[in-house]
Symmetry: C2
Subunit: 153 residues, 2 copies
DNA sequence: AACGTAAATGATATGTTGTAACATCTCTAT
DNA sequence: ATAGAGATGTTACAACATATCATTTACGTT
């Protein structure tokens, strides 16, 4: 069976349940993100869209669609890289705790890891003591993956 | 006495000691960063430069100067925001442990906080288990400061 | 089924950020 | 004084993002 279709259908139901519409274009964009499971920039998506669907899509549309998908919690925007990635909880149900993104600054690979809740709590305490508030407990951490580390030398 | 001049002079000695030159333009840019003590984008600096010095500076020059200052460890580049900030250890001598930057996503205020070494170690362990390596233990954390939090409502 | 409205998308222009490539200037050592 | 390296200037352009207005589509009402 086709896993991606299942995911998309699930997402569609989710949208419908609170009165928003996962239109064809939105499905197509989401589908690209789910399939690649890598972080893609808006312009990456524009190129991929043409390749996969044989028709152009304006930049404006992609940005609007990404905003929509983000508002629906179907994709995350990685601010560190200005890239977008399918939200992990649409591809797998069980809860992982607090997800954190490791982004390889060389090859843009993205890995989602779980960090102890206590670690996050400690971090959060330090932040609040400083008079700031975490926008989300989801950190984007600038890393180098082992592959790039070994080949770079 | 003028604190900023002292800082700049100190930085200049530092450069001289290993054969690099803190030229007038570089001093001017560094000086802007030290004075504002906020995170500024390259184009923020271009505007500020005109305002403060009454002469234009090309974008290219600012980027080159920022690269230089970063290599000299006089400024940090905040990758999350694509902004630059004067390195704290040129304005204050004593070591703080592992510095972390909190960046207000509304007003761009930057606060440097200290997080328990143990917290960082735990984070680092999780990262290494995932086959990644922290580029630097210096995190850039996306926050909202209390000022913006209260006024936004 | 036809219509009106709101939402979604398209199209165009332009703003913003960053860099490539080459020219010119300016120190510094000889 | 002059050559060579390093620093800066200039121009053009690539990549990323949004503003604005036009057009199309979906959906409830009649």
């Amino acid at each position: 069976m086709n896993n991606i279709d299942t995911i998309i259908e699930h997402a569609e139901q989710n949208c419908k349940s609170h009165g928003s519409r996962l239109t064809t274009k939105r499905k197509q964009v989401l589908s690209l993100l789910v399939q690649t499971s890598k972080a893609l920039s808006a312009y990456d998506l524009i190129d991929l869209f043409v390749k996969e669907n044989g028709e152009k899509i304006p930049a404006m549309s992609v940005y609007r669609i990404l905003d929509f998908l983000e508002a629906e919690h179907l994709v995350h925007k990685l601010k560190l890289a200005n890239k977008y990635i399918a939200c992990s909880h649409i591809t797998c149900k069980h809860e992982h705790g607090v997800p954190q993104f490791l982004i390889c600054s060389v090859c843009n690979a993205v890995k989602e890891i779980t960090v102890n809740k206590s670690t996050i709590n400690e971090l959060n305490q330090s932040v609040e003591q400083a008079g700031f508030k975490l926008v989300s407990p989801q950190l984007e951490i600038n890393c180098i993956c082992n592959d790039c580390l070994t080949t770079a030398v």
